[in-house]
């Protein structure tokens, strides 16, 4: 069982985010289009990582509600990039579940409207070559 501390380290490593830079202004949450559907709000991603409460972050609805629009990343005055934290939390969850990678040609037939957009967008962002 990996500890919250270890998980928080992993999230910081995957995302490249230093949560200590956050000044808790809330600008990220101000325009997040999925705000109302999220149980943990964008500015709280930062506190959850600081508090090393990663399990909660990984079990949250927000993981699947974030659209990866990156408005929060774009506008954060402290350059914190909170969207990258939730992205990393999702990564962590997927890693925990094991190596369930798809080959690209499998993707089109699996597409259905229920797939979180963020998953696709992030996957394309990560694996584009």
């Amino acid at each position: 069982m990996i500890t919250g501390k270890k998980q928080a380290e992993l999230i910081k490593e995957i995302s490249g985010v230093n949560p200590l830079k956050c000044m808790k202004c809330g600008k990220c949450s101000a325009t997040c289009p999925s705000y109302n559907e999220m149980d943990i709000k964008p500015h709280q991603f930062v506190s959850y990582v600081l508090n090393e409460d990663i399990e909660a972050l990984m079990q949250s609805e927000s993981l699947w509600k974030c659209l990866s629009c990156f408005a929060c990343v774009e506008r954060c005055p402290r350059d914190v990039k909170p969207g990258k934290l939730i992205d990393a939390a999702r990564q962590l969850l997927i890693r925990q579940r094991g190596q369930e990678y798809l080959s690209p040609d499998e993707v089109p037939e699996l597409l259905d409207p229920e797939i979180p957009q963020q998953l696709l967008v992030s996957a394309f962002r990560r694996y584009r070559r």
Binding site: M23, C25, K27, C28, A30, T31, Y35, H43, R78, D79
Partner: protein, 662 residues
């Protein structure tokens, strides 16, 4: 061989906790030339200084090494102590075993070793030291103030009241600065013009003060006590002596489409103009770019209507050269450009304004004659939103890293004034933190909330979007209620960050004064010398040094004046004896040194030299000791090794290096 005494300071535990002070004494005692070595708790104390004097008398010391803190702290202290005991002060050297050793290391053994090495280097240097005698330079009893805002005006008044001549150079056509643009001022809400105008009048009427408006400093040479400054008086096209200030020209001028700088471009002015009614001097200038006479060759209306015959289209820029003993920089600030903040729609909507623009809108002499109205359609707003920290406290490259310090207070002021005058208008302020340290400041902010019903919400606005209905959609967070807010507003006011006047870079270069990464002028010591620049004779007043409100600006302006007066009150200054000189047998007159000297201290003359029996005329570098600041740039640049610096000779430096590498 010198007879050297070494004194090792514990600095309480600052040094002694990391450096084995007794061991340093034991080792150093064995060094050749050292005839006395001891350690003490606090060398800078009276007892410590007495130990130096006693040893000079008892052991006949000719050189002293104090192993202690940085020479910037106490070199002068120890040199004075030695001088009182009859030794030339320049025979004292400091080995910095605090900042350069104990504070930055943890391992006692290693740090002790390093302290010994630093002491050896200082001993090696003292062995080659020679007594030096400072020269004298005169002090011109006149001060120059660059910038005529409240800071510059206050400094000028204080210096002039002490009996010295003062010149103010102001770039715009009138003195007054930003304060003249403000409507009412926190924390007491008195009208800005009512408290500023008397000061402006006092400055212009003061027999010791000369004001150059519409003028800029063009060139500065010289040094503390003896600066020579060229001031460019830009052509006003109006004769200052003849103009009576009747204002007829401004009324009749047909070219009325120039954006008014004073009203931040929210209204237009005529080509011939005074920026505002209380301007000092009350003499207009012709803005040649907008004048029909200058652009199209025809018009000349102002000359026809001017009863005093003051209009002079032929006037040219004039250069005035004047000498000064002290220079005070008071160039103030501007608000940042908001081009990089698309999300707040500043450039898309006329109803998104900066707080400085709001000051003009609220002012009776402003673009809307003091009525609060939307600039897009002239309608009265019902819902107003203020956004704080726009471009302040940013870690990205769009904004500034610092807190602008004044905006929390002026936002509370604006919110309160609006709620007072227009009780029907709802006012919401989005804040990250409300920062109101200062006498009666937090009480002021609380009044806005408790007595005036201003709605303060903790959370930043993410986006302002103009709506088809003409209103503005504001999207924000309410962090305390954990909700996202979407509300419509009629006007949005941005508390834009302030930044030093961009001119300050040019001025700092001319004065060899330093500026920080944000272009604020740097003080000589952040705590102990806050109104002095590291460049001797240059002082700092107002926002050019860092964000400040008016009370702080005025206090700092007074402090800068006191420092300048302290300098002007002296008849003579001692000059630094550590100056450069060239060896006439080595110098080949190549001009390399003159090119690197930042103080223009090096000239060349042709002189006859006797080079091992051969007499010939050679071009030689000559250093003006009064100008040389001893920076040493020339000594490293000189390809023939002819330049050398007294007190820091090439031999001394190499002896130190040898001692370290031994």
């Amino acid at each position: 061989m010198q007879r050297i005494g070494v004194f090792v300071c514990h600095c309480g535990s600052n040094i002694a906790a990391t450096v084995d002070v007794e061991k340093v004494v034991e080792i150093i005692r064995q060094e050749p030339g050292v005839v006395h070595a001891e350690d003490y708790q606090y060398m800078c104390s009276e007892v410590g200084q007495a130990k130096i004097a006693d040893a000079i008398h008892e052991k006949g010391l000719t050189g002293i090494v104090v192993c202690s803190c940085s020479p910037r702290m106490h070199e002068t202290t120890f040199r004075k102590a030695a001088e009182r005991a009859g030794l030339n002060p320049y025979m004292v050297e400091i080995a910095n075993i605090r900042e350069h050793c104990s504070w930055i290391h943890k391992d006692v053994e290693e740090a002790t070793k390093k302290a010994v090495i630093l002491a050896r280097a200082a001993i090696a240097k003292v062995n080659l030291n020679a007594p030096l005698k400072p020269g004298e330079s005169r002090v011109t009893k006149r001060a120059l103030i660059i910038g005529g805002g409240i800071a510059g005006i206050q400094t000028a008044l204080d210096i002039a009241d002490a009996g010295y001549e003062v010149d103010i150079v102001e770039k715009t056509p009138s003195i007054g600065g930003r304060m003249s643009q403000l409507d009412k001022t926190f924390p007491t809400l008195d009208c800005s013009a009512c408290i500023l105008t008397p000061k402006m009048v006092e400055a212009s009427a003061h027999e010791k003060i000369t004001i150059y408006t519409y003028s800029e400093v063009e060139k500065v040479t010289g040094f503390v006590g003896d600066f020579t400054v060229d001031i460019r008086k830009k052509a006003r096209s109006v004769d200052m002596d003849k103009c009576t200030g009747c204002g007829v020209c401004q009324e009749k001028c047909p070219s009325k489409k120039a954006p008014s700088e004073f009203n931040r471009g929210l209204s237009n002015r005529s080509a011939i103009y005074t920026p505002f009614a209380q301007a000092i001097p009350n003499v207009p200038v012709i803005d040649r770019e907008h004048c029909l006479k200058f652009q199209k060759g025809k018009c000349g209306v102002c000359a026809k209507v001017c009863q005093a015959g003051a209009i002079d289209y032929e006037q040219k820029d004039e250069i005035v050269t004047e000498k000064y003993g002290a220079i005070v920089v008071a160039t103030g600030f501007d608000v940042i450009k908001l081009d990089n903040y698309d999300e707040y729609a500043y450039s898309q909507s006329k109803d998104v304004i900066t707080s400085l623009e709001l000051e003009r809108i609220m002012n009776a002499a402003g673009p809307t004659k003091g009525h609060l109205e939307r600039l897009s359609d002239g309608k009265a707003p019902r819902e107003m939103v203020f956004i704080q920290c726009v471009g302040s406290r940013c870690a990205d490259d769009r904004g500034k890293s610092y807190c602008s310090k004044i905006c929390c207070m002026y936002t509370a002021k604006h919110a309160m004034l609006i709620r007072d005058k227009y009780p029907d208008v709802n006012v919401t302020v989005f804040y990250i933190d409300v920062r109101t340290p200062g006498k009666n400041f937090d009480e002021f902010y609380r009044r806005a909330v408790e007595d005036f019903g201003v709605n303060y919400i903790k959370g930043q606005v993410g986006k302002v979007a103009p709506q088809p209905n003409g209103r503005l959609l504001v999207q924000a967070s309410d962090l305390l209620d954990n909700r996202q807010i979407k509300m419509e507003a009629d006007m949005v006011v941005l508390a834009a960050a302030i930044e030093p006047n961009p001119d300050v870079r040019k001025i700092a270069t001319m004065l060899t004064a330093s500026i920080d990464t944000n272009n604020f002028l740097t003080e000589a010591h952040a705590k102990l010398r806050p109104v002095e620049s590291p460049t001797a004779g240059v002082f700092l007043s107002g926002v050019c040094q860092g964000p400040k409100d008016i009370p702080e600006t005025v206090a700092q302006a007074g402090a800068a004046a006191v420092k300048a007066i302290g300098l002007l009150a002296k008849d003579k200054l001692l000059t630094n004896p550590c100056t450069a000189h060239s060896d006439e047998l080595l110098c080949n007159g190549c001009s390399t040194c003159a090119n690197v000297c930042p103080y223009g201290a090096i000239t060349y003359e042709v002189r006859q030299v006797n080079d091992h029996g051969i007499r010939e005329d050679r071009r030689l570098a000559v250093v003006n000791e009064a100008l040389c600041q001893g920076c040493g740039a020339c000594t490293v640049a000189c390809p023939s090794g002819a330049m050398d610096l007294k007190g820091f000779s090439n031999r001394q430096i190499l002896a130190e290096v040898d001692a370290i590498c031994q």
